[in-house]
Amino acid sequence: MSFFGLDCVKKKEKETERKIRANDREHNLSFKYATNAIKTSKYNVLTFLPLNLFEQFQRIANAYFLCLLVLQVIPAISSLSWFTTVVPLALVLSITAVKDAIDDLADLLLLSTLCLSSSHPLSPSLAVSFTLALCFCLSLCCPLGEVCCEPPNNRLDRFVGTLVWRGQKHPLDNHCVLLRGCTLRNTDWCFGLVLFAGPETKLMQNCGKSSFKRTSIDRLMNVLVLFIFGFLVFMCIILAVGHGIWEHYEGTKVMAFVPQQNEDTAFSSFLTFWSYIIILNTVVPISLYVSMEVIRLGNSYYINWDRLMFHTGSGTAAEARTTTLNEELGQIRYVFSDKTGTLTQNIMCFHKCSINGKAYEDSVIDMMMVDFSFNSLADPRFQFYDNNLLEAVKLETLEVHSFFRLLAICHTVMAEEKNNDLVYQAQSPDEGALVTAARNFGFVFRLRTPESVCVVEMGVPRTYELLAILDFNNVRKRMSVIVRSPEGKLALYCKGADTIIYKRLHDRAEESIFAGEGLRTLVLAYKDLDEEYFSEWKQRHHQASTALEGREDKLNQLYEEIEKDLLLIGATAIEDKLQDGVSQTIEQLAKADIKIWVLTGDKQETAENIGYSCNLLREEMDDIFIVAADSPEEVRQELRCVEWCEAYERDVQVTERWHGTEIKGLLILGIIFAYALEGSMELEFLRTACMCKTVICCRVTPMQKAQVVELVKKYKQAVTLAIGDGANDVSMIKAAHIGVGISGQEGMQAVLSSDFSFAQFRYLQRLLLVHGRWSYLRMCKFLRYFFYKNFTFTFVHFWFAFFCGFSAQTVYDETFIALYNLMYTALPVLGMGLFDQDVSDGWSLEYPQLYEPGQRSLYFSKGAFIKCALHSCYSSLVLFFVPYAAVRDSVSTDGHDIADHQSFALLTQTCLTVTVCVQLGLDLSYWTAVNHLFVWGSLGMYFLVTFTMQSDGLHRLYASSFPFVGTARNSLDQVTVWLTVLLTAVLCVLPVVVHRFLFMQLNPTINDKVRLKVHQMKAQPPPPRRRARIRRSSTRRSGYAFSHAYGYGDLVTSKRFLRRPVPSRSAGSTPAGRSAAFRPAGRSAGYSPSGQEQNPKQATEPTELQRYRAVHDATFCRQGVAPE
């Protein structure tokens, strides 16, 4: 279902430019731009019935049954009473209608909350909540400004427009707009002008096309249904031809007692054709679709109900938001995962530190949490467990003090006081974590001005003069500040990636700390500066920074020059905690042969780091290819190179290859997607990527994420799953066969467009390996059995045709035909589809290999379908000819002949019912009480209904409606009848048993093995799960700049950054000043030191798109920009 109703954006003519005037409603309305209302529902109360019926009859199966119904009312053709079709059709239509109504009603509710939130008086003068606002419109209060800008598009990184104000034109670029969904930081309000609303917003435009998702089984079913149609026509043609031949040789003679209405053989054959279409229609099972829906719905509820997928921390249960895709979960071959917030918690923790060679560890075991009560400014959410560190601080150890001083000074964090509470706005969560750590240990960063940094050191306020910020960039992997202390001492404080810093130390001492723990280590160093040298350097720095050419290089040289001969202070270890069980989940999924691609907007280092820490990349992967090129040709070459290496190793290490040692990791930078996805290189890219065990793509835009997914879908014909938590994952989630949203406190956008949602990444293994596998198994078993029972039922008519002059006589009683699918066989097979398990969930997780048959579609395919049909063919032969031979010329014990048509019908249908029941019992591997009830109940129901329908009483009421009166009573008391039933059942089922048993012995499947093992262990619970030990990399993985972006140094020192009065803490909270110019541009601008609160995560591209931020709540909370 189109969730965002993008369809309604269809414009009559293509918009080339849009013009909007501030506060001029009439002018703006004249263009009929989209309003902010987003309609997502299909029906209303009045249109429901006609629309829904219309829609249902568009389904080919339902339309087919409607045609059948028409055929049945033609007397010359009608071989069955109309009710045999009407009853099932009505039932199916009503069940589907109820389901549709419930589904759609849910949407209507959602819409109403949407309306509520959009009428929230955040921005009354603008009437609609803000979508995109001009940021520097402080002076826009007068209604004269007019904006000309580009038409709505989905490019987040680009915006072109002009502002005409007071006759002057101002260019507008990407920096001047706020995108829908972003959060304002560092200011409480700003002015804005809405440019795009509702479906035209960049967010909505970026949502990707939402298409109706169908499972591969659905697609297969469509093919099969067509095939069945063809087969039906084929059978009917055979029978019609048979009728023609029969008429020619025999039928004319029958005229003596059966006068034919029409003497033309051809015409009579033609009618016979249609009569048989009616009789054999049950090969296309009408109740199949509705049963499939019911099974999927049931299996979806299991997901909702699963306590093991319930996250206690957030109180969120897993949710199957789409109830039609379950079995696809059992066939996933590619998982595309977002990184931050999906694999990680997006919470940075100050985890360990090493000061002057002494390590302080945040190990939870038998350590008391450090009590920070001495410090009134401490952040209560910060936790640290090593009391030694606090002791060291209190003892005024010099190194420890300079360690924290550095942390308090050397950063680009902004401080803000709100409600008497110090709030840090950090462009990267790890910076925030470090500054908070310093704060709690008594070095509180209070305030920043462009020229100074205010710090409260152990209760004493000190102001450092900020002389320079040597900003971070990707090459330098470090940042430094040069400050003058209140005492007038000049110092350079530097923090950066360990490998980088070690090279610049004075004594080059290398300290191996926190190695192999997968933590991001950051080394801190300092250097006292000479006043003269610095002023000279400052001079050169100024020159360089104003140079027009080669500014970057010159600056870098200067930085290099001053950042050397550093003195080591210590090191910190920051952890962006992986979510619980991520690496174990990844390992499980890998065992299940599911390929995991991480698509992240983050930088290469970050991606690589996370790859290692969650076991995606491992040390034994001898090479990790990094594809990062600037031109299409280079990309092509690099891809070829990877491929070539791969091929080379394949030749050299054939033996090793089979031991799985040469697993490749591949890192791809997003920039190449622009080329790689261009078309010519698609295949090359894909081929290379699929060769590698692990693929990590970084700096990928939302649309590129979707493109990658589409690419794999297109060329690999594999079932894909995308998992993510942010708005930037929406397009990917929609593009993949299955979209999974991680629901946290943030980013409901991903959840809203997902098919399944839960709170933690680790639930993915349960979703796939347990629920997915079971759903697929159940659906396939259901389909196989369903086809079997219907084909068997129908084929008997085919054989009978040869004995009734191809006259379209039915074998069974019409009541039986009407009820067979609905009553006698519906529940047992539904029970199978809802309850069957081959092995329990514990064993499913113990043997992830059990997942593989699903990926290869082994349980239900065209081949399996043909097998089903052949099996049915055999069964129907038995079911017709055994009763045929048994009743031929036979008489009952009281001498009455029991070879009459009604007795034969009863005998055959009893044989059929019993046989399909026994077959079901054979297929069912998990007999719960419900299954027993369904199976025995259905059998009982069959006899009950049969006896009732053939009872005297009903016949007395409606004589001609119940012609079978007395048949059951007369024939079911015969021993031979029961012996025949037994014979057919045994004859139908035993060959299957032999076949299965022999295959199990000679060629056991993984399921057989595990089941046998389980059986041997007498259904004991599986052994305690072997906790996969997480292999940490042996080399140090340094990850400074977890998500740092270049340019912050400039920002915090720029004059644009507002000045505000130095807040005095005692004076309570001072309202924050205006900070319209400061936009945190890091991936995330909030952080939590303790994990109680998550970052409002976002950012799609690390550089410019960070303002693209997840919407906060389920109702697309509009972030209002309040006008003054």
Binding site: R307, F310, A317, G805, V891, G966
Partner: protein
Amino acid sequence: MKAGPSRTNRPDNTAFTQQRLPAWQPILSAGIVIPGFTLIGLAFIGVGVALFVTSQKITDLEVRGKRDTHAVLFFFQGPVFFYYGLTSYYQNFRTYGVSKDGYQLSGDTYYFNVRAWYSCAPYQYDSNNNPIVPCGSIANSMFSDTFQLYQVVNGMKKQVPLDGKGIAWWTDYNIKYSNPALVNGSFANAFSGTVKPVNWSKPVYELDPTDQANNGFLNQNFLVWMRQAALPKFQKLYGRIAEGDYAQGLPAGNYTLLINYSYPVISFGGTKKVVLSNVSWMGGKNQFLGIAYLVIGSLCIVMAMVMLIIYAKYKFTDDDEDM
């Protein structure tokens, strides 16, 4: 565990919602399959032998062609049933099978005249547009041969009584079919305004003038005929030999069958036959079931052995840890 909203959202911990319902999980292990097959095989062979022997004991005598004297060589254990059989006769033809009017046959005179049931055509009305009762092809084509069986005792023909009553199903006689109520004390009046089926020699109310309980729609030969056969080769009960001297069976000797031929079968290439048979606990003579049970039983035993050999030779063990 902390209380609060997270607890209220937590799904119920029931065996059903957590998919942990206790269940019986049978698997096709050798320990079940091989003994199972052996047992089934033995049971089938037992049943097969019983059926076969019983079936062999049942006497039946088939009379084809026009020879009218037959020798019964041994005592024919009674009660003996007298059947007539037809071949190539498609009573199961669809348009034939629907060609009757259930309302008429349940004695509702309203439907004698009213066109409620088109399926009776072309035997709905005669050429003078008089309604035919009983209408339709089935009734019209009712078997009309009559039989008399005589035992030749010392050259004398002694009639063997063929009881034509009690040959129809109890439900057909008592429930499904009824005669219309008498009109002015006359059964025939109830059918006034209607005509007999085209092929019939006498109207329905004269099928058995001697016995009103066997007359009209309740005539048992009529009822037997109306219960159409499933297959084109069929036999129908004509009478029982259960009275008088022959209640215990037919003594050995010579018998003469007098057949009043009136039913044409040559035209459609069919044949007629007469069958005398007695029954057992398994009904009439039927070799098929006994043989089938014997064959299937033996096959089961054979398969059990084959599976045993294969199991012993190839059985997989779960030693391989790499599964």
